[in-house]
Subunit: 227 residues, 2 copies
DNA sequence: CGGTGTGAAAGTTTTCACAGCG
DNA sequence: CGCTGTGAAAACTTTCACACCG
């Protein structure tokens, strides 16, 4: 069920948040955290929208899904909004993550400094290659796959990152699910088939470039609208 | 302007394709290329949809934006569809790409094998750090940023990848644009402000995890719908 | 038959516009 | 005032359902 923000004691229980809105919430949060760093206290829907290319109305509607934080005539308080967003997105609690696949990309992700700020931390890494098992990178010792279940349980891991070649992704995904993981980010360029209670976010780097090549090719009309 | 597929001599000129549809086209293409590898000749909208979790009607509508390829009673020919999709997405032509930022992630992307299949190739890499300039990785010698413009022109680069820390991303983006690049993929966790003729695709790794943490937290209702 | 292409209906998201508040 | 929160309207996307084709 959708979380709603229990701000000021409301228990607004069942408004579910559309997926498009959730993706914009993450963008708002990113801007808000930057504004907070810069010491900005408040911001209006118009200003926040302008930073991201959205309309003021859209910002207000989106924030409306989360709760009521605005001060008419003033705007929103950055710190309140950050807190509320993180509650909704779930990043006020720590998320231990298990990574499978310690190739080039896996190594890079192990070292990526951006996860920590949002309370994610990679607490274990696995690889099928015996040559990689035992190596320690960024303080994490690479384990063999048969230790997956034990480690996931022991470290209370709920999320997995799949960073293996496409040919192995489905199998690895199933092992993560069997180990008890509730959601995975899949960097392999294949579609995973998993039970519906498991959440999947796919990141296909070639597809991102493809979207760009489409946009560039079809420039002039900024890739929207219908006849 | 939107490209339309000049299949069988039609010049269907001005149907613009909605962004959501374009992102699904990339997914169809990925499946189709796999099917092609496996030697499958034809596929129906229902089968293709099932592979990705979409309805048959949606697949047909989406493909309708691209042209008319279906054989009633049979389905679509994989090879024709792949060809058409690549025409639309622009990946029948080669895309030389310039990368800026040769940190962990940049290195991993330089070695990523998935770009080539879609006709992208990283033909130059740049870094502000003098210690990195001159190193050769994957056959690419890292250049200083002041060679950006010359190299972009010389190698006919139209796309850039920004893989620098957030604090430098806007400046780097501007330099890429000044050098003549028409679109960028931005891996830095900041919003870029660029002239509207430049296309931007953002990939924020922490945000992907955030979307997942939301989905997992709000499981039960699969994160869609409204009262 | 089994399957496409497509109008028309249903559903969702965005924009508009304005009452109301500090 | 300036800005929020929100119904009502407009725009867009998805699903339905069916004529038509090999």
């Amino acid at each position: 069920m959708a979380e709603s923000h229990p701000h000021a004691g409301e228990t607004l229980s069942d408004s579910t948040v559309p997926k498009v809105v959730v993706s914009r919430l993450s963008l708002y949060l990113r801007e808000l955290q930057r504004l907070q760093m810069d010491g900005q206290e408040t911001i209006s829907s118009g200003q926040l929208g302008a930073l991201l290319g959205f309309s003021d109305a859209q910002v207000r509607k989106d924030l409306g899904f989360v709760g009521q934080f605005g001060y008419p005539g003033v705007g929103y308080r950055c710190d309140e909004l950050v807190q509320a967003m993180r509650d909704i997105l779930g990043t006020n609690q720590p998320w231990p993550v298990a990574m499978v696949g310690v190739g080039n990309l896996g190594l890079a992700l192990l070292g990526y400094r951006g996860f920590g700020r949002q309370n994610f931390s990679i607490v274990a890494a696995f690889d099928a290659d015996p040559a990689k098992v035992g190596q320690t990178i960024q303080g994490i010792t690479v384990q063999p796959l048969d230790q997956l279940r034990a480690t996931v349980q022991e470290k209370h891991v709920r999320l997995g990152m799949i960073v293996v070649p496409g040919s192995q992704a489905q199998e690895v995904a199933e092992r993560l699910v069997a180990a008890g993981v509730e959601g995975v980010v899949n960097f392999a360029p294949v579609t995973l088939t998993l039970p519906p209670h498991v959440q999947v976010v796919g990141v296909d780097l070639a597809i991102e470039l493809e979207q760009l090549s489409f946009a560039v090719t079809n420039k002039g009309t900024p890739l929207e609208s219908r006849p």
